[in-house]
């Protein structure tokens, strides 16, 4: 396991090369995305679709809609991240670009961190786009508790990106990628989804951060455990 301990040390000591590589990879991904706008557009349109379709399933009961709104938003987020990860995977496997990136890297966990940050940014922008829409459609006032809601969403999105990036990398090398990715990603992220949905629902109900501390701790532990775990096993995923 010597390789892994190296990446740990690199990460902890904030090694300059490591950071540079992470930033370079992130800049590359974001630049490609800025020029094509392929991943984010599909994620956003899909998330809006999920919200709209769910709206029909719930019906016209305003109180009911308020209760399930946070669930709908988080389901839209996790489905959209599955879609985004698939697009990212497709782009990476075109002309073996992943292979090229891996050859250039000093430490391969830089790839994981860059991909995770990119995924996180997409989800963040997605949330910024979708929250006002949900606020209007579901008649929920997000602005009143915007600070608290930001905390819950940041933690949740971090967890979704960590697990998503891991399984996106794994699904890239399977035959039926589009089936395997949701099959792996959705069950493993269930604890995160439950906690995030409950936390958001209670925040919408006007509870404070202190009331939902349990859920936030759960999401935090999920994030930390999976981040460390993925750093430890990432070399085994990208190894030939």
């Amino acid at each position: 396991m010597y390789k892994n301990s190296n990446s740990f040390i690199a990460l902890m000591s904030g090694s300059k090369i490591f950071l540079q590589q992470v930033l370079a990879l992130l800049a590359k991904d974001l630049k490609t995305e800025w020029r094509t706008r392929e991943i984010f557009t599909s994620m956003f349109v899909f998330a809006v679709l999920v919200v709209v379709v769910f709206n029909f399933a719930i019906g016209a009961d305003t109180e009911l809609i308020r209760q399930v709104a946070s669930g709908v938003i988080w389901i839209a987020l996790s489905f959209a991240s599955v879609l985004g990860l698939q697009r990212t995977g497709q782009m990476e496997s075109e002309e073996d670009s992943l292979q090229g990136v891996l050859l250039a890297l000093h430490d391969r966990s830089a790839l994981f961190i860059a991909k995770m940050l990119a995924q996180m940014l997409y989800l963040l922008v997605l949330v910024i786009g979708i929250l006002p829409l949900c606020g209007i459609w579901f008649r929920i006032d997000f602005i009143a508790h915007i600070g608290e809601i930001c905390v819950a969403f940041m933690l949740g999105i971090l967890g979704l990106s960590i697990v998503g990036t891991l399984f996106g990398m794994i699904a890239l090398h399977t035959r039926a990628c589009e089936v395997m990715l949701p099959m792996l990603f959705l069950p493993v992220s269930i604890p995160l989804t439950i906690a995030a949905v409950q936390a958001t629902a209670q925040l919408i109900d006007g509870k404070s951060l202190r009331d939902i501390a349990d859920y936030l701790v759960l999401i935090g532990i999920f994030d930390v455990v999976f981040f460390v775990l993925v750093l430890m096993v990432f070399d085994y995923i990208v190894e030939e």
Binding site: I170, T174, V188, P191, V233
Partner: protein, 247 residues
């Protein structure tokens, strides 16, 4: 709490049986214990006053559930060992334990509703223990699918990673669904202050049943691993023949 540790030590002793015992001997002991368990359940153990005959499914249900957790724990340990040692034997163990674990998990999910229908009046409720079992079933079915869908060179590595992640996810799932809702009967086996909700006859029956299930699990594991190894040998031989023919 003492009884809990006895059971835990008990479970830990089973890998030793797996390693030390001869296969025929293992099978014989398993058959004897299994028959003894069935006789104890239906003849010796008293019928519970409140629940009646339905309660007898408890012996199969809880034994399957414990065996399932043992199986998934074996998957996790074997996966860690595979990543560390890179030996095919550990991979075969992980695969076999996962397959058998899914079978026992399915048994738990079938026997649970059978018991719940007359007692709770509903086939299914989203209570933490049921939800945890269902989510575990989904994760390990995905594990088996991942093994089928991955190209050969990476199959064992990917599976090992999911094997570790799946087991580490268990306490998190448990925690989250517990906060979410609760209805499952509190464990009757061990209660506050180390007392048990079972009479001694029931406890004896349960322990024999648990031993029978664990013996069955390790026997199936042994057979499945040997199948996996034979298949591997076959593939190697086939490859050699191909090379000779081409050469």
């Amino acid at each position: 709490m003492q009884k809990w540790w006895v059971i835990l030590l008990f479970v830990m002793a089973f890998p030793l049986i797996y390693l030390c015992m001869n296969r025929i001997f293992h099978a014989t002991i398993m058959c004897i214990t299994m028959n003894a368990a069935i006789m104890l359940i239906f003849i010796y153990a008293p019928t519970e006053k409140m629940q009646g005959i339905v309660q007898k499914i408890f012996y199969f249900h809880v034994s399957s559930a414990i065996t399932m957790f043992v199986a998934f724990f074996v998957v996790c340990v074997a996966s860690i060992m595979y990543l560390w040692k890179n030996s095919d034997w550990w991979d075969a163990i992980a695969l076999s334990a996962a397959e058998i674990g899914v079978v026992f998990c399915t048994l738990v999910l079938i026997t649970g509703p059978l018991w719940a229908r007359p007692i709770w009046g509903t086939w299914w409720s989203w209570d933490p223990t049921l939800t945890l079992t269902l989510v575990l079933w989904l994760i390990y079915v995905a594990y088996l699918m991942l093994r089928i869908e991955t190209y050969d060179t990476r199959r064992a590595r990917f599976a090992a990673i999911l094997g570790i992640i799946g087991f580490i996810d268990v306490p998190l799932i448990r925690w989250s669904v517990e906060k979410w809702r609760t209805l499952h009967p509190k464990p009757v086996l061990i209660q506050e202050g180390g007392t048990t909700g079972l009479t001694s006859a029931m406890l004896l029956t349960f322990l024999v049943c648990l031993v029978a299930f664990l013996l069955l699990f390790f026997y199936l594991l042994r057979e499945r691993v040997s199948v996996a190894q034979s298949r591997h040998t076959l593939e190697v031989l086939r490859h050699e023949i191909d090379e000779i023919c081409v050469g």
